[in-house]
Symmetry: C2
Subunit: 309 residues, 2 copies
């Protein structure tokens, strides 16, 4: 068994419009790279967090550190690890930055320990890392980063994660304005009570989205990508949200909403060509602002954390 | 083309636990029989409503009459019809009594007029009949009575009905205590605002139920059949609800909740044998009461309204 491993952990879009707190999917092509190595010091050492130097390297405060420690405690071992993280997703992006690190870290350690746990079990450990970032145990980024495709988190007590294969030609476009919104702040915006009528509309859309995913009905996926609960409250933190949404819908997107708690905005599209037109529409809107941004065009990723050979 | 037709319109279970106001399924073996005949009087005559004589025969107040008139108005014809209804479902049962009559009536008339409309289109006409019974246009009984299987009503503006085939061995047991609860009264019990946290749990379960239906995952269907919003408020109108639920779960039911707005209670089961044990458990609870009741054991019906040859 090797003492060192390199993994790639993908970014992810959670909430997915109507599926607030219960749905997420993995995206291709953007994510964290991590090199994890056994050490003989019986502790976790976060060696470098390339690109974002203000992230904590104290393993008790770092999402990867906390996630690994949870796994090691469960396994009852004092084995130590050196963790090098190359973060390609800016923290507070809304595309699962902390989840990628947490998921990648526990997959790497699990491999080095001889794979005692299933991927599904690892989701639970990675969730503990998420607490450090958001104050809440949530799995709607961690699960897709771990398992790939769409993930439904039906419930938490006990954790009930259901994998859903994405339709073959479902593409995702994400624009990430380089401003930071903390999940904690964004969560504080939400009303604690909602009208029953809106809730009914929301679960009608959630059911429609599920149906669309299982039957590859792209039009139904599009119709169902409505959020009448969260989007209106949170979009105020995101510059040009309405403008972006309007443009991408005109450009042929199936639907568009906030990725996670923002500031990233995602759109889904049927096929690569439409996805590129959608990306161009986003670009046109943001080019007029003075905000730096990145745009990612990718298929919904079939796989979660990958071991790099 | 014949001038007379006989149809069978099945009962249905709406809400289905977590899917309040958006889900329903058709049940086999119980429903209304209707004979519809063209007349030359340019009006709708409700001839007999066998078994329940206090239902209105005024076509403007009768669900079948209103549904037919809506179809005829859309078609722009003054053709008249005689309608004989043999109601086998007691009104106010919670198993789609009015929906069966409305669905059966418009299917019959559509056939006699040379099938100008699709079944999906007929749902819209039948919904207008439902208004007479419940005060609300809703399709969660009408759609399954019309189309069979499970139906998702994703939204109403415009009406968006999605058919879902039930897993092959999904059985339904319904107990119908012969007391009447009007949908209007039952609806008045519901709080207009609900906690966001409960709503999230509910749409997690809705998504889980959809996933279970599409993948024939009976255990997931069972786990998802939770309702944390409506059941607790409405069950107070239903004698022995908690007792029935407890017994059927012990008897191996996948899940159990209120059918429609009650008083009927439904349970789902994997396979006929379990369904029979579940039915026996319901029977044991209600035999101790002084309330009359009927118990129906059937598969989820694959078909909606049937033309009787």
């Amino acid at each position: 068994m090797s003492d060192i491993i390199k993994v790639f952990a993908p970014g992810s879009v959670s909430n997915v419009g109507c599926g607030f707190d219960i749905l997420g999917f993995a995206i291709d092509g953007v994510g964290d790279e991590m090199i994890v190595k056994k050490n003989d010091q019986q502790r976790i050492i976060i060696e470098s967090i390339k690109a974002y130097k203000d992230l904590p390297t104290d393993p008790k405060k770092n999402v990867a550190g906390v996630a690994i420690q949870t796994l090691l405690d469960d396994l009852g071992t004092t084995q130590g690890f050196d963790v090098k993280i190359e973060k390609n997703i800016k923290p507070g992006s809304g595309i699962g930055s902390s989840a990628a690190s947490a998921a990648g870290a526990v997959v790497a350690v699990n491999e080095l320990m001889g794979k005692p746990y299933s991927r599904l079990k690892l989701v639970g450990f990675a969730m503990k890392g998420e607490v450090v970032a958001s104050g809440d145990e949530h799995a709607d980024n961690v699960a897709p980063a771990m398992l790939g495709g769409f993930c439904l988190i039906r419930g938490y007590k006990p954790l009930d994660v259901i994998s859903i294969k994405a339709p073959d030609d479902l593409w995702c476009v994400v624009i990430h304005p380089q401003i930071e919104i903390k999940t904690k702040e964004s969560r504080a915006l939400l009303a604690k009570e909602i009208p029953l009528k809106k809730a009914i509309r929301q679960w009608g859309n959630v059911a429609g989205l599920m149906s669309g995913l299982y039957t590859s009905d792209y039009a139904l996926i599009g119709r169902s990508l409505e959020d009448h609960i969260v989007e209106a409250q949170r979009k105020i933190l995101i510059p040009e949200f309405d403008e972006v949404k309007l443009s991408v819908m005109e450009a042929g997107a199936l639907g568009c909403s906030i990725s996670g708690s923002g500031p990233s905005i995602f759109a889904l599209a049927n096929g690569r060509d439409t996805a590129k037109v959608v990306a161009a529409a986003m670009d046109t809107v943001y080019r007029r602002t003075h905000i730096e941004y990145k745009i990612y065009v990718s298929k919904v990723s079939e796989s979660g954390v990958r071991i790099c050979k």
